[in-house]
């Protein structure tokens, strides 16, 4: 049977994660000239927090097919044309490699960090055991 301190810690963790999700950020990552970009500049790595959303927006005149096969996130966004965007919310901490199925040289990494609130909740959970 789980100790009441554990239950309390889990409750606190979910409360903090929920509170954190209310403050979740949204990042727009462009696909521009067969590169991943933020504000028109090429990026290879993006650091975000758990619960944040990345909006993949095609700015090229041709189609892209963004996907990821990673431990923390597996998705296929299908083919979408210029001006269209697809959102992905990252709910697990870790690293996700993001690629374009059509243009195999397009690659970036999204590093999803636990939020500071969630981090301390996880730490408390470990201490209580």
């Amino acid at each position: 049977m789980r100790a009441w301190t554990d239950n309390l810690a889990i409750f606190m963790l979910f409360t903090l994660l929920s509170a954190n999700s209310a403050r979740a950020a949204e990042y727009e990552v462009g696909q521009n000239k067969k590169r991943f970009t933020i504000n028109g500049k090429k990026i290879e790595m993006l650091y975000i927090k758990v619960g944040d959303t990345v909006r993949f927006k095609n700015e090229d005149p041709f189609y892209h097919g963004i996907y990821s096969v990673s431990e923390i996130s597996t998705f296929e966004l299908g083919a979408f044309r210029k001006g269209q965007a697809r959102n992905v919310t990252f709910n697990t901490p870790g690293r996700a490699d993001i690629e374009c199925a059509v243009h195999a040289d397009m690659h970036m990494v999204i590093e999803v960090g636990a939020s500071s609130a969630a981090k301390s909740a996880l730490k408390n959970l470990r201490v209580s055991k």
């Binding site: 005149p61 041709f62 996907y67 199925a101 195999a104």
Partner: protein, 344 residues
């Protein structure tokens, strides 16, 4: 550009005009700042960092490329399928392999392989060094046991000498065999075509029809070819399902299992394209006219995963003729390759 500057200086000395000099200097400066024409061939061939070019390496690679002793039967060489007289391919709809068995994919040209980011129709390897060993050892193709081939080569004094000259102290290994052939293949690049001469400023190098064909080709709404065929090598190095009839080959999907890659294949170069019929990964079309018709009607098989860039183009007969005139203008001057004498 150096020549341009020298010519300008000479002209200025003759004229002795400071004002004109300033204008010309500004023009030269502007021309220096202008981005290079993306449709012109690069002046440098990229080499692998651990496999720089040398005459000995290219010569060894060429000799191996033409040597049928690299196959299990000692009867098939790389050049059997990648025939320089046929645009470095074989002129067949799909390749013929061991025991005359017809294979399912067309032999791609090796022209401009140096600039390709991935090799094979499905892009399953990234370097030419990795690529060259696969057909040699493929049971369906050259069907060689690599260890037997290496022993065979090591027993030929001429090869021992050539390997030592090309890769001193490295011996005859899987690595040096691959590096030598890759080194040679990288030298097979486009020569100057009428299209290049036109891009460099010779207004009469190609016909008005070909010029209009290029305009249609690069028009993202009209011809839409440029959505996939980009830059000097006319490829996006990407993978597309182009709606070919009866295509059951999974293509790139077998390498990267993402739904939109089912039946998708690498965008081939269009350099020397007039030299390499038939066309498509399965040799579906005999002529460039058939290829243009295919794209005009947005492909044959309107499957759900066909590339969404495809849509009916409604090209006129003249538009199609112009596109073909442009594609024909991409044929480079003949590349002369001396046939090597195989060491015995």
């Amino acid at each position: 550009m150096k020549m341009d500057n020298a010519a300008t200086s000479h002209y200025l000395r003759r004229r002795g005009s400071l004002v004109l000099g300033s204008i010309l200097a500004a023009v030269v400066s502007l021309s220096q700042a202008a981005p290079p024409d993306p449709y012109l061939r690069p002046t440098i061939i990229p080499a692998a960092s651990d496999n720089q070019f040398s005459q000995a390496r290219v010569e060894l690679g060429k000799t191996l490329f033409f040597d049928p002793r690299l196959s299990g039967s000692k009867w098939i060489s790389c050049a059997t399928c990648h025939n320089p007289a046929l645009g470095w391919t074989d002129g067949l709809p799909t390749a013929i392999g061991k025991d005359m068995k017809v294979l399912r994919r067309a032999t791609p040209t090796i022209l401009n392989a140096a600039y390709q980011k991935r090799h094979f129709w499905d892009g399953r390897v990234k370097t030419l060094e990795e690529q060259v060993l696969i057909p040699i050892t493929s049971e369906a193709e050259m069907n060689a046991n690599l260890f037997e081939v290496l022993d065979r080569l090591a027993a030929i004094p001429g090869y021992v000498k050539m390997f030592d000259l090309a890769y001193p102290g490295e011996g005859i290994t899987k690595g040096t065999l691959a590096k030598a052939i890759a080194n040679f293949e990288r030298t097979i690049v486009s020569t100057e075509s009428d299209f290049d001469r036109w891009r460099k400023g010779n207004r009469t190098a190609i016909s008005e029809s070909a010029k209009n064909g290029f305009r249609i080709f690069t028009d993202e709404e009209k011809g839409r070819c440029v959505l996939c065929h980009q830059g000097f090598n006319f490829t996006d190095n990407g993978f597309h399902n182009i709606g070919l009839k009866g295509n059951e080959d999974l293509g790139r999907f077998a390498v990267v299992p993402v739904k939109i890659l089912k039946g998708a294949f690498k965008t081939p170069t269009l350099r020397d394209v007039a030299m390499t019929p038939p066309y498509m990964h399965n040799g579906a079309y005999k002529t460039l006219a058939e290829v243009v018709d295919h794209y005009d009607r947005a492909g044959e098989d309107k499957n759900e995963i066909a590339d969404p860039n495809l849509r009916p183009l409604q090209l006129s007969t003249q538009d199609k003729a112009d596109l073909i005139a442009f594609l024909n203008s991409l044929t480079g001057r003949p590349l002369y390759i001396s046939v090597p004498k195989l060491p015995q």
